[in-house]
Symmetry: C2
């Protein structure tokens, strides 16, 4: 559907029917207009951006990738720039300024009035990923002594510039947040009711501080099914709100970060295709080096047993399989535990419950794997005889049991000492489980085969 | 804060001050009430549930875990049950019925009127994870010929039972969805304007079919920043909506599923602590078995070179380190590519761009790792001499290069043949990279050390 629609738009552009193009664009969703813009050559993009009506161009701008935003800012006249920044929601303006080069920031700030500039600067100073850095100030504030009719009048008069009007925030004379009221309740209430009497107050009031981590904000919004979360300063004065569309983005961002940590990648905010080769290499090399050096342990263990490995045929050949099976078993467990911790389904106090469960699961999995392995070794005609097969299967059984214990212990231990449990995923588990597996394997081999 | 509040509630309960407890509960958020209920013994939970006012008890019920819901249904009288099901939003009722045992479903359906029963039954028949199975029918429908004032009157009269009133859906005489209008625009428009003239129609209309996958629904909501997504049947008649709170849940669910697949776990909808030991073992054993059997390749490769490994000291000891480093390198790449594919940042057509990028990254990472490895082997006094060290480092370099190529190729290839790219993560990559690494290692050793 979209591709066809774009084709028609390109045709209008080729035939220079700009008035008709403008009409067609005005009927489209701003997200789609942004997508269409990004399909064009830079100069042509600016041409199209200029024919957009003022009331939608800022919206379209906020959905463009930062590369395209930079291009538009560079191509815009001073006057266009001033209008654009004025029309952007403050949180979109801050988002955009955080992504673009410093010279673009400078030029944009030079073309905003001093009040907006001060506001933007104060936003840019909140720590990365704090509630303050992602909030918007375009919310509806209602004084608690208003009636419902008066409140609706206020919304009608001021609402058009607000990012959301669906949750209104009730403040007292000191601008302190004292309650919230959904627009829904205002619409459905009697016009003479007092806002104060129908708002959610006290115990129901949910808010975050400007310095709260964005992950915490997302957790609260998800838990309470909120459309927006109010942000207050240390005196509980309302300073902004965070809307659900930004919260959805935070959730995806946090999920990406967890995944990256689980692969022992240094988390990065940038899209893969836009990240340079050196930046990508830098994000990866530290942990690769640490893990490689840690593998010295497995090397030393094998060196100690080299005579035994040379003497008994078939022992060496099974090392990769044992290590992989142990690593995979531990990885499955740690993944489940890390995700459970992230979603709040597992807590530190559940450790022994988890360990007991994993122990029983590992007996089942280890038993099946050990039996299947003996069968496998017979079928493919592995080197060594039945006694070797039995030692390998025995080592596999214990490796699975130990791997699952390590896989559930390390993430919970990390949480206990306030490290990110996500670090205790596959690669980290594998490195530790490898060493333990080899120790078990060689111990069994020494006892039963020498 | 919450713990303290709960302490006071428990105290009221102990002193049997039920009226005061009720008042306190009424001031609390329904999510917190549900949390408090779950902290109580089953019999006491029912006692508290019964003192809740009717208008909030159904809401509280929808936030309870399915175990607790089952308990309440079992303990409820027939009359209580009828009231409860009537007060639940239809999507919450369906969610709940999908989770509880069959006998509970039977008893609940027996106590609903025939219209609701037919409706619930039709919902239960939508495929798992389809838009139809998660939608609600409590939306505001506006006829397109209404004026703004008439529309607001309709919302005032019917809105109280609707799950959201913030986006209203415009239908024509055939119940076909022809547009949407945000409540915001109704509130801010002139009372005499026609709904038809101010609604978003045609090209801006975003909707999904009842059979659409929930992941697709979440992608659309995220892309267009929607508060709710309309669901239509094959004749484009409006049959329901999916609200943002459910979409947030879907996003987390899909992320969990991806993570589970990446660890080669069979995805499961149930919380970890509530899943039985046998179910957990079943979700894990298949892939563990497949990967174990696949490791036969690495075993065979080593068997072929056992004489060389016995003859040259130090070669065997480096096998785990080489395999792990290759696996970790491939895992980093595949994680980034899988996530990029899931978020739409990487597409199949970007393959050569990704491969070229990964090739350059792998040269840097492989080079640094190889150099560091020689230093490490000297420092820890590894077995073998300089020539062995050089062969190990050379193999490491090539292993990293190949691993990163495999790590970006397999997920994109999976996408191309309509498999889930998430399957091509750590464990799968490791198994393949292990075999390739060993082949490179032994080839280099044969050439330079024999």
């Amino acid at each position: 559907m979209e591709t066809k629609a774009f084709d028609e738009l390109f045709a209008l552009l080729r035939e220079n029917k700009l008035a008709e193009l403008r009409n067609r664009l005005c009927e489209m969703n701003v997200v789609d207009i942004a997508e269409f813009l990004e399909e064009n050559e830079p100069e042509r993009m600016m041409l199209i951006f200029r024919i957009l009506p003022k009331d939608i161009s800022a919206d379209v701008f906020s959905y463009l990738d930062s590369d395209y935003q930079t291009h538009i800012v560079n191509a815009a006249t001073d006057k266009e720039l001033t209008t654009l920044v004025d029309d952007l929601y403050l949180d979109d303006a801050v988002d955009f300024l955080e992504e673009v080069p410093a010279n673009v920031v400078k030029r944009v700030l030079a073309h905003t009035d001093s009040e907006t500039r001060a506001l933007i600067n104060s936003f840019l100073q909140y720590p990365d990923n704090s509630a303050g850095s992602i909030m918007t100030i375009e919310m509806v504030e209602l004084h608690d002594r208003l009636t419902v009719d008066e409140a609706i009048k206020v919304i009608r008069e001021t609402g058009v510039d607000k990012e959301t009007i669906y949750t209104c925030y009730c403040i007292n004379d000191n601008r302190k947040l004292i309650g919230t009221i959904p627009l829904r309740r205002l619409i459905l209430s009697k016009g003479t009711d007092k806002v104060r009497d129908i708002m959610d107050d006290d115990e129901q009031l949910i808010y975050v501080n400007t310095l709260e981590d964005q992950e915490e904000v997302a957790d609260i919004a998800r838990k309470y099914d909120l459309l927006s979360v109010p942000v207050v300063d240390n005196e509980k004065r309302l300073v902004g709100i965070i809307t659900i569309d930004d919260i959805v983005d935070i959730i995806e961002e946090e999920n990406t970060e967890d995944l990256e940590k689980m692969a022992l990648l240094h988390p990065s905010d940038n899209e893969y295709l836009k990240t340079g080769v050196f930046a990508l290499a830098k994000n990866r090399i530290i942990w690769l080096l640490i893990l490689m050096v840690s593998a010295t342990f497995t090397g030393k263990i094998i060196e100690n047993y080299e005579n035994m490995l040379s003497a008994i045929a078939g022992l060496t050949a099974c090392i990769p399989m044992l290590m992989d099976t142990g690593g995979n078993s531990g990885n499955q467990t740690s993944t489940l535990v890390i995700r459970g911790l992230a979603l709040g389904e597992i807590e530190i106090k559940d450790y022994f419950k988890v360990l007991w469960k994993e122990f029983r699961v590992s007996l089942i999995c280890g038993g099946i794997l050990a039996a299947a392995n003996i069968a496998r070794m017979f079928v493919v005609g592995s080197a060594g005889g039945l006694s070797v097969f039995l030692v390998v299967s025995g080592a596999m059984f214990f490796a699975v049991v130990v791997a699952k214990a390590i896989g559930c212990t390390l993430p919970i231990l990390a949480k206990l000492v306030h490290l990110d449990p996500a670090l205790m995923a596959g690669p980290m588990i594998t490195t530790i489980v490898d060493a333990v597996t080899l120790i078990i394997y060689f111990a069994l081999a020494s006892i039963f085969l020498l």
